[in-house]
């Protein structure tokens, strides 16, 4: 077995040193009753070439973006990742290292995380960011818990226009905690309903969670929400599932959000059937000690040289155990590195230009579809790179199936998560969709997919 270096002679010599006769003896402490007395029932081992053949076979059964024109978004975005990203994270020193608990031989990881945290602060307009969370949804759940910790209140309002996967995750995380989640309705323009929001905000409200942009691609009035939340003494949590939008939009920090979470997948991570992605989590300096997860801080060594270390570990479960701010241990370190490299490459100008292209392409597509008979756009609010399309006939499934026949993944049907939008689907357009692809989508919709 090529992964196991032991030779027969090694094994014999080692057993001798240990003073036992057989490998069996190593397991003497395991009671016979719980020993497995048969081989595991697993398929026979594959050579490397066979393994790749088998995985290529499985991969070949999937509709990747190489074969389909894809307009799927909804929290996972088909953006281009420069080759640099993957080649750099493929350096063994990065991806085969453990969590940087020994700073002397982990400065590479530590400095990169510090840079990640800094980039997230700059992007979100916040003051402190952690080393990453599992994904945007679980980061959102952690934000809700932090709001509860900070305010010692028990109710959290969640916009119905927040990504359904985020809402479900918040619900699961909070399931058995002493708190209530309440939903805020969606207004006719596709944004969170300000009236319903005001009606539900009260003195027990710890926080309010709003998507920015929201699941329908609409750009929420975060400033107004922050003002309302703050008036009630609640925290405003902005959840950013498409952080590329922040290349153009006012940052949540500028709009007075208290906690900003989201997913960095757009920044260089493949969609990879849903993961691994990377949650980010940013907050105000004053809330630092209430934050979940790891933090890297700057320090100096005995010679006065700059160095980086894990810091404020007293919040974490290794020390605080059941009183920790979170149970998270391994996070998504390498994915944070992806994001860091991606943002280093695009930088100030590039992120803006990339965001502009996304917006322009979505706007162009939106206009194309809006002009088609049989389709309409239910939500009027300004959007970034996604929008909702209504199928007048109501046959969303039929429309999407017809598109599939033309090798187009036209969008995500909304009926499953939003029964009131049974006749709607969510379209996402990125810089990866050429005008020709877009025109083909529109033509396909025009040419009968609507029927």
């Amino acid at each position: 077995m090529r992964y196991l270096p032991h030779t027969q002679e090694d094994v014999a010599a080692m057993l001798g040193r240990i003073g036992i006769d057989s490998l069996e003896d190593l397991f003497a402490e395991i009671p016979a009753a719980v020993r497995l007395e048969r081989p595991l029932n697993l398929p026979p081992p594959l050579a490397e070439s066979e393994l790749l053949r088998e995985l290529r076979r499985l991969a070949g059964m999937n509709a990747g973006v190489a074969d389909f024109h894809s307009f799927l978004g909804g929290g996972a975005y088909n953006h281009f990742a420069p080759a640099v990203v993957d080649q750099l994270i493929s350096r063994g020193e990065f991806y085969t290292a453990y969590t940087p608990y020994q700073p002397e031989i982990s400065q590479g990881t530590l400095q990169a995380i510090f840079e990640f945290q800094t980039l997230i602060c700059q992007l979100t307009g916040m003051e402190a960011a952690n080393a990453s969370m599992y994904d945007g949804a679980s980061a959102c759940a952690e934000a809700v818990l932090m709001a509860v910790r900070l305010t010692r209140r028990h109710k959290v309002l969640i916009s119905r226009a927040l990504h359904p996967g985020y809402r479900a995750t918040v619900t699961a995380y909070c399931r058995y905690l002493d708190m209530q989640l309440e939903e805020v309705a969606v207004a006719a323009d596709g944004r969170t309903d300000p009236a319903d929001l005001l009606a539900k905000l009260d003195e027990d409200t710890a926080g309010l969670v709003i998507g920015y942009p929201n699941y329908f691609g609409c750009i929420e009035d975060l400033g107004q929400a922050a003002a309302a939340a703050h008036a009630a003494g609640a925290q405003l949590i902005a959840a950013v599932a498409e952080p590329l939008a922040l290349g153009l939009l006012k940052s949540p920090g500028e709009l007075d959000a208290d906690i900003v979470v989201g997913d960095g997948q757009s920044f260089g991570l493949p969609v990879s059937f849903g993961g691994p992605y990377v949650g980010f989590f940013a907050a105000r300096q004053k809330s630092l000690r209430a934050m979940p997860g790891r933090l890297v801080g700057e320090t100096t060594d005995l010679d006065g040289k700059r160095g980086f270390v894990l810091t404020l570990a007293t919040r974490e479960q290794h020390i605080r155990r059941e009183k920790a701010t979170s149970n998270i241990c391994s996070n998504q370190g390498l994915c944070a590195l992806v994001t860091t490299i991606f943002l280093s490459l695009f930088g100030k100008q590039g992120l803006r230009e990339l965001a502009m292209q996304n917006h322009a392409k979505a706007a162009y597509t939106r206009q194309g579809i809006e002009a088609l008979p049989g389709f309409s756009l239910p939500f009027a609010a300004a959007g970034f790179n996604e929008f909702v399309v209504r199928v007048e006939s109501g046959d969303t499934a039929g429309v999407l199936a017809a598109l599939e026949d033309q090798q187009i993944l036209g969008g995500i049907p909304l009926g499953g998560e939003y029964p009131e939008l049974q006749d709607c689907f969510l379209v996402c357009v990125t810089e990866q969709n050429t005008r020709q692809e877009i025109d083909e989508l529109v033509a396909a919709l025009a040419g009968g997919a609507a029927s």
Partner: protein, 420 residues
């Protein structure tokens, strides 16, 4: 082998310190549609502080940073509790295959049969290895697997109209165990172990307000919990369930199965036992195996097979819900599946045997030199204390000195029951 003089040591600034206004590290196609402006009041000016770098700046920056790190690819990395395996290179190739890496999570199931099939096959393989009735591959890491498990335990109690409030956790447990129990709304009751848990201690604490016991097996001292079957029996008899932290499963593959010991629920760490890279702190994956009675509570969606096709089953009324926006760390599942298919049954067993052999060999070589607080036969790890170290030396000194010799230090100051 000692630290040599052949290598290079390069300084490196922060990436922001390399930035120069006007540099570009990206390329974009010409915009092929009319440009479109968002309403002005929605837009920011620029992102203050964001870097501006050319591609070569970025490549050099991260290349140089990487040389400050030590990885499994650099050499021996004997971290207890972390299972620092070799991370097979072909698995990296596998996870990047087109059709896997570029598959969107919202792709209709009939166009994602390969991916769903892979998840299903991984679930099945993990179930066979662990002896559980079913496995979810959704959780993103061990700690999230723990959360899934504890939420299921609580949901099961609720389904029986039981509202127990306490969870027993041995003092050797990893910090995520109590933190997770708290997140599931439980009060943590620490219990003492003397190397392994004694029946007496478990019986003394196992009352009818105890929802569960969280145990790690082999535990963080590298010792097999020899009374595990009886412990499970007692906990079950008194109305509780047993959660197993499966971080140390690497000692047991093909040797013994937690599901056969009476354990109700256990998480796996694919980034430990199943060779996926630690990535400098993730991403990993923390699938959870459950006994039959907990199946209805699994996080949703679950990958199910119907005839020859696979689909995500969302219609599970008793499910605890979902813990991530999508299907879990699929790229990590690909790697773990590749590992299992490469190793086969005999290979996995051999991996466990060799891990245990190595730990016992190190123990044999060092037990005359260092203090060994717990003396029963070790499994895949061994814990020494610094009590016998001379000259005012402590564990931390030993750890740092190992670095000077070109080795990664072992895990230090954990578990907390061992001094130093």
């Amino acid at each position: 082998m000692r630290v040599g003089t052949s290598g290079l040591v390069l300084n490196e600034k922060l990436l922001f310190e390399h930035s120069d206004p006007g540099r570009k590290g990206y390329s974009l196609p010409e915009l092929d549609v009319p440009s479109s402006d968002l309403p002005r009041e929605l837009c920011r000016d620029e992102i203050p502080g964001f870097p501006e770098l050319s591609e070569v700046d970025v490549v050099r920056h991260f290349t140089r940073l990487s040389t400050w790190n030590y990885g499994v690819d650099s050499g021996f990395y004997p971290l207890g509790s972390c299972t620092m395996k070799y991370n097979p290179k072909v698995n990296e190739t596998a996870a990047r295959l087109p059709g896997l890496a570029d598959l969107h999570p919202a792709t209709p199931a009939h166009l994602a049969q390969g991916a769903l099939g892979l998840m299903y096959l991984l679930q099945e393989a993990l179930a066979e290895i662990s002896g559980f009735a079913a496995v979810t591959v959704q959780p993103a890491a061990g700690a999230q697997g723990e959360l899934a498990g504890m939420l299921m335990i609580r949901a099961w109690h609720e389904a029986q109209n039981s509202s127990r409030r306490k969870v027993l956790i041995p003092d050797t447990a990893h910090g995520t165990n109590p933190a997770t129990a708290a997140l599931a709304g439980y009060d943590v009751v620490p219990i003492a172990s003397d190397g392994v848990l004694s029946m007496a201690e478990v019986e003394a604490h196992m009352d009818d307000d105890v929802a569960a016991l969280m145990v790690t097996n082999p535990n963080t001292l590298g010792l097999f919990e020899t009374h595990i079957e009886k412990i499970c029996r007692v906990v079950h008899e008194r109305g509780g369930l047993v959660y197993c932290d499966g971080a140390n499963l690497n000692a047991l593959m093909g040797i013994a199965r937690p599901g056969d010991m009476g354990i109700d629920v256990m998480h796996f760490n694919l980034h430990k036992t199943f060779s996926t890279p630690h990535g400098g702190g993730g991403p990993g994956a923390g699938p959870v195996g459950v006994a039959e009675h907990l199946v209805p509570f699994l996080p949703k969606p679950v990958v199910v097979k119907q005839g020859d096709t696979f689909r995500l089953d969302d219609d599970r009324p008793q499910s605890i819900g979902r813990l991530l926006a999508f299907n879990g760390n699929f790229g990590i599942m690909v790697r773990a599946y590749a590992y299992i298919r490469t190793m086969g049954a005999a290979g996995l067993k051999r991996a466990s045997e060799m891990a245990v052999l190595n730990a016992n060999y190190i123990r044999a070589c060092l037990e005359d030199t260092f203090d060994l607080p717990f003396k029963s036969r070790s499994l895949h790890e061994v814990v020494f204390s610094d009590r016998r170290l001379a000259g005012g030396c402590h564990t931390i000194d030993l750890a740092k000195r190992l670095i000077d010799y070109g080795y990664h230090p072992p895990t230090i100051y954990f578990p907390l029951v061992v001094k130093g």
